[in-house]
């Protein structure tokens, strides 16, 4: 019985995937050019993220605050980091779409730089999606109430991806791709990423 139900689920999943691929073929991949990148990026404060994931800072909070106050502070910190991962995820999606379009360039150097950007953006997106799921679960299940306040520092690496290191690499890759554009565009990129 279980195997039949599972087979039907697989058939449904496969059929939905076929429909999605048909939709993709119909609509084509969004073609982002440079004008569709910078205004769409949300700034990510890496130093803030560093401080949120710093185990010493967390230990200090735990030391200074009472259990209830610490739980409240930890929830606030989790929500803040969730917002940062949302921004990382959004930025990486924008950059993946741009990299895909840039890979169509006739300049081989540009294609290689775009491939690196795409690779880094996919890694960041994977990290932010997995971290987002973890954080939402922690917030939803109220794990803090059962004296199991989650340790935010554990989120630095998810799925073997060091989030902040990869995001920094993504910024470098984006800068390398945009370096040949006018300085004002590069400035905006460095501000918005």
């Amino acid at each position: 019985m279980f195997s039949i139900v599972f087979t039907w689920l697989m058939v449904a999943w496969g059929a939905l995937s076929c429909i999605y691929m048909l939709r993709c073929a119909w609509r084509r991949f969004p073609h982002r050019d440079v004008d569709d990148v910078i205004p769409f990026l949300y700034p990510v404060d890496i130093s803030l993220a560093e401080s949120l994931l710093d185990p010493a800072a967390e230990f200090e909070f735990r030391w200074k605050l009472g259990p209830q106050q610490f739980r409240q502070a930890q929830r606030k910190r989790m929500r803040l980091y969730l917002e940062l991962t949302r921004r990382m995820s959004h930025n990486s999606k924008v950059l993946v779409e741009y990299a895909v379009a840039a890979k169509g360039s006739s300049d081989p150097d540009r294609v290689i730089l775009a491939s690196t950007l795409q690779e880094k953006a996919i890694e960041v997106r994977l990290y932010s999606l997995l971290t987002g799921i973890k954080l939402r679960l922690w917030l939803l299940l109220r794990t803090d109430l059962f004296h199991m306040a989650p340790v935010l520092a554990h989120l630095r690496t998810t799925g073997e991806i060091d989030g902040l290191q990869t995001y920094t690499a993504l910024k470098s890759a984006a800068t390398a791709v945009f370096v040949q554009f006018p300085p004002d565009i590069l400035d905006s990129l460095t501000r918005n990423l």
């Binding site: 019985m1 279980f2 087979t7 993709c24």
Partner: protein, 241 residues
Amino acid sequence: MNVLEFIPSCMLVVLLGVLLRRGAYKILPFFFTYVLFAVAADIARFMVRDHPHPYYITYYATEASYDVLGVLVMYEVLRAVLGNLIHGRWGRCIFPAILLASILLSVARSHAAPTQFTRRVAFYILVGEIAVRFAQVFIFAGLVTLVPLLGLRWRQYPFGVATGFGLYATVSLLTTTAFSDFGTRFTFLWGVTSLVAYSLTVIIWIWFFSAPQKSGIPTPEVSALSPGDLKKYKDALRRMR
């Protein structure tokens, strides 16, 4: 019906030509081998079609080879799409886990609805074939799910291969699950549906491989930046930190 049966074989020859033109043997060697084998298997089956015993042996021997090649092609697809992500500790477990789940599901299915095979070898080949179909749907549907999540580019050769196999495997699982209720009419329905699905699969492959694809493998040989660009790059990185 007999003439229609040759349509997929003719299209496979066209596909082989397209693959040769695109140099697919360098990008996806297992898939190229699969198509080459499919053409050879069709010829072999055609040659022994009037001799029941040799046809039986040829049919099951080629089916078993299809199963093995199908697994290798799906591994190749997964490796090509996920790139570096598959080399991690968890990444390395993805393919064996899919394969194991597929074999377990296929075995469970064969126990739930026992087949009427007298020869054990034929039975095992059929179980293996259903396991490969499960693995193909798993990998195809999984990769398609990753397209919107990770922003992967869908118009690339490995996705084309996965889409073709995914469509055929989905239809195959559907027909073997749903049409078994039709009794003796099942053979005819299964034959027609498989023929149409396989033809569509080959059309999908031809369509995907009809467009040239730039090599996505980054090489370290990027031309050096000009001194002006290098300064801009360093300044920009400094501002970001």
